[in-house]
Point group: C2
Chain length 608, copies 2
């Protein structure tokens, strides 16, 4: 236990005491591991956060934030005064790290995410930036129970990420009891080795062992290294050391604890600057080109348009990369792979790792597009939620959504994606109905900050949008004009809505069809204009009734001057297998159902 | 390759050909594994689906449904005619298995879920039913990349589930390419052993090796067994065998394939009946008792009320079990553990496995309540989505929701749970504002089918609901009466809304506060009555604006006769750390903000 290690402990105790909350004991177990890292192995210029050669330190155990911030103080990036604002309103030093300040790459605090994200940063270092910086990821032992950690282990080894070092702080004590593995370090070692890693078991409070392990990690090539460190929670303070019931609480007698730890210190560590001087990240030469477009009336699946669009975008913008969850011949991300193999990442059936890798890549300024079946993004929902807290710029594309996929049945039908993605702060939710819309929206996603979600379709739809018509995030278009009733639709059901409008016209009912290709932010002006001019609205979506297009339309009208009746058509019973048309009919979101609902509303609203 | 194995192949080819879609090649690789299982090791009475001693067969690789249904035909549970309705509209034989018929326990088809659910069934067998039935789970090798599989491996070993056998069909080919592991069976073996399993590598087309492996699995005690079987995708038909590009497609020349496989057969297997005759599942003796109640005006956290309520429920109903994700001293599920240790399951930091275990337990008719921080249910969202397709009866409780948790910051704040759980078919979403509501809602959840979600609070709230007032799923209560403006609130902000109403009363504005403790199904009558009588509505929630209480209120009014303006107060910027009151204020969902919004609306609506 070095002086620096003790300082990190003292500062963890002090900041948690000042906050009267936090996790000092989970910080104290890892203090020696981090002290030796800073003093001997880290290559990071704390005076230059934008240096692309800086190492990255990611705390997968985000609750050890007192330790993380104490390291920033020791590195000179945070003052002692700031340190003591920990967890207070208005402080940048939040309860769990948030990238609202330099040297915090991502938000952690939902366990099992930091390591998968570290895999993304390390992948970017090796395959994109092609720089020798390293990623050091501190993991808790409790979070080794999260499956996402093993996705990360598998992908890191498969990709030979010898620039990644995971450090498992095996203090054995979780929130309420001992972990399943306890201090049986050998089990972690065997698991890691079986997943293709080099593994080193050490005493996490022995500085020499720690130093040797880091040296070995840096010298190991071809595979990542994990350091499995036996530690004690609350190490250094007898009142809490290795005792249950001390999780997530400030230390009762902080003054005595600080004294026991040898008192306050004010060391500043001279952390080594990155090797390799001013090397710049690799950039991909691109030939340029145009986004694709299609002729009016063509029948094209929007997933195919997605594939062509990201491929074209990859030729225009060398920062664009693509990831897919082993369904690239379905999502059509395979087109990107064929054209830009160096920038394509196969993430296999590991959606959590896929989203996490994308988060990691955008940390170092790449522009990831990640795709799988829309339904399977639900697997990574916590990662998307946390990505928003990380202020990440992600582009996600989900194909095969809704009952219109047909025979595969409900397990493959995303019917909750609008709801779940709308409830992500700063997100946009896009659902183009045709290929030309898709191309323009994909281009717009590349330029947009935050989390952008695009839903594409399995089946073909008719190109109704002229290639030269502007399609923007937040926009919509009128697919059929009229003023007796408005039908707001998106995606597969736009064709149905237009067919319904044509039937209604035969009956003398003039229906306006709004193609709401942006579900969030909904085109409020178009909706309010329709409310005023048409007097009644039917919404139609291949989605559950909750949280989707219908709710977005209702929100747009909530406090508008004109608040006409709105009837929501959506999927209200569990769908089955069948042909797309049979399922659209069974769900009552086909032309017949739309026309029926619109006719009833128009009639109710017409003068007696 | 036995006659039965060939029949299973032929029937997989035939059913997929009749459907013109499906996964015959992924079925053919595992046909011999399943044939030997049925003929020699399975104990299942296909004439008596309700026999509690029946083994369970779960296809984690749900896309091999042609094989699954061909087994049901061979077992006499499905006719050949039914088999050929596969994937057609109206057939029970859907694209992926769905529990709409006997012998299908759960829906699979989102990979990586069948094994974690099998762990739940096996846990119930051993620790609850205490019967010797076994669980046989067929896994794909592609899905071994899902982290949830490793959560299952860890929990199965930790719990000594020697009644569980996983069979990995290592055909090495995924949808677009070879898996990360390929045919390196030893890597699967080493991983499984490192996770505490007995592992056996075999040739999955050698009936003797398969037979011996099953025998060894049945004879292994104290730990689960995995059979790692080297197989060929499309085995038996040269046009597809072990070839890439043949995933998820019917075989082009089905007739030739059937001929190559030796033609159609119509064997019915005499599957062995369960051992142990008519043994009944264990039932827990319970002392009975009453649900807890609290005095008006007491300050109690609803999470504490949850703990007391499930504990009381456990004394009343011996079928109730509790699971928690290693935060039981926060959710207060620890009270249940202390009172009913035999029915408490610690799921550690593995939320996917927790929900899957609950799904497995309800397959055999136990009543699981699973709890963790509300934010961390987002980790298991795909499992909840699939549980709805499984027609599962689950009770989930998420604590520590919203900005009102305070210092821990946004990673721990569920702000999307209403949206995500509302978009689950057949769900209810409950958010009591006080302890007495919580007790009654917990009791109602135990009796309710489908997926019930309860959000509880970290901080204390005042008991406003008399213990003898009826609180029902779908109901609401008036916390403050008035008719100038209505405020619809739930949970932590009910106290704020009442405070706002009291301030408004001082200004001569009479506000009605509706405590909407049921967010789904929202109390439509109460909302419509308020719309009619109050003329304007403010909604308030500690949740993002999308998909929550405000949207539920708007939906209730969408086509009502009275559609007054609605102003939604919700969390619109990324919260930080701080004290609960500071954060409620910063998010503009405190009494001051509510009073301000209500005053503006009431004024706008008042006669000039």
């Amino acid at each position: 236990m070095s002086e620096l290690g003790q300082q990190l402990r003292v500062d963890s105790v002090r900041s948690s005491a000042a906050a009267n909350s936090g996790h000092p004991t989970s910080s104290m177990s890892a203090a020696d591991l981090m002290a030796v890292l800073m003093e001997k192995h880290l290559r990071l210029d704390y005076s230059d956060p934008s240096n692309p050669n800086n190492d990255h330190v990611i705390f997968s155990k985000g609750h050890a934030s007192p330790l993380f911030f104490s390291m920033l103080k020791a590195g000179g990036a945070v003052t002692d005064e700031e340190l003591l604002t920990f967890r207070k309103f208005g402080s940048k030093l939040e309860g769990h790290p948030v990238p609202n300040m330099p040297f915090v790459d991502v938000a952690t605090g939902s366990l099992g995410q930091g390591l998968p994200i570290s895999v993304g940063v390390a992948l970017a270092a090796k395959k994109l930036d092609r720089l020798p910086y390293r990623v050091w990821c501190l993991c808790g032992d409790s979070e080794m129970a999260e499956g996402s950690m093993w996705e990360a282990f598998e992908h890191a080894a498969f990709n030979g990420l010898d620039n990644l070092t995971a450090i498992i702080d095996v203090n054995r004590l979780g929130q309420t009891r001992e972990t399943m593995v306890g201090w049986d370090l050998d089990r972690y070692v065997k698991r890691a080795e079986a997943f293709g890693w080099h593994a080193i078991a050490i005493d996490g409070h022995d500085d020499d062992q720690i130093d040797a392990a880091y040296t070995e990690a840096r010298e190991t090539t071809g595979r990542p290294t994990v350091i499995v460190a036996r530690t004690k929670k609350g190490k250094g303070v007898k009142a809490v050391e290795d005792l249950p019931g001390k999780h997530g609480k400030p230390i009762e007698d902080a003054e005595a604890a600080i004294e026991e730890l040898g008192g306050e210190r004010d060391l500043t560590v001279e952390v080594a600057k990155p090797d390799g001087g001013g090397r710049e990240p690799h950039r991909f030469d691109v030939p340029g080109g145009d986004m694709p477009s299609w002729e009016l009336g063509e029948e094209v699946a929007t997933r195919e348009a997605y594939g062509k669009s990201i491929t074209a975008l990859g030729s225009i913008d060398g920062a664009v990369v693509a990831l897919d969850g082993e369904v690239s011949n379905s999502t059509h991300a395979e087109m990107f792979r064929e054209a830009h193999e160096d920038r394509y990442f196969e993430m296999f059936i590991a959606e959590q790792q896929m989203v996490a890798a994308a988060v990691g890549m955008q940390v170092v300024d790449w522009k990831p597009f990640a795709s799988t079946f829309a339904a399977f993004f639900s697997r990574a929902y916590d990662f998307v939620r946390m990505a928003a807290i990380s202020r990440a710029n992600l582009r996600l594309s989900g194909s095969h959504a809704g009952v219109s996929i047909g025979e595969d049945g409900p397990s493959q039908m995303a019917l909750e994606d609008f709801a779940s993605f709308r409830a992500i702060l700063g997100s946009c939710v896009l659902h183009p109905s045709d290929a030309n819309q898709t191309a323009q929206l994909v281009a717009a996603m590349a330029e947009r900050d935050g989390i952008s979600y695009l839903r594409t379709l399995r089946g073909k739809t008719q190109v109704r949008t002229p290639a030269d018509e502007s399609v923007t995030i937040g926009g919509s278009r009128i697919a059929h004009d009229g003023d007796d009733v408005a039908i707001v639709a998106c995606g597969i059901v736009v064709d149905q809505a237009v067919a319904a409008a044509e039937r209604l016209a035969d009956d003398g009912v003039s229906a306006r069809v709004i193609d709401a290709y942006t579900v969030k932010p909904i085109d409020q002006e178009a909706v309010r204009t329709a409310a005023r001019e048409c007097g009644a609205i039917v919404t139609v979506e291949d989605h559950w009734p909750e949280g989707g297009l219908g709710d977005a339309v209702l929100e747009a009208l909530a406090d508008a001057d004109d608040r006409p009746p709105v009837v929501k058509l959506a999927v209200r019973e569990m769908p089955t297998s069948g042909k797309p048309d049979e399922l659209l009919h069974a769900a009552a979101i086909d032309a017949e159902a739309i026309a029926g609902a619109a006719r009833r509303l128009a009639k109710a609203g017409s003068p007696a």
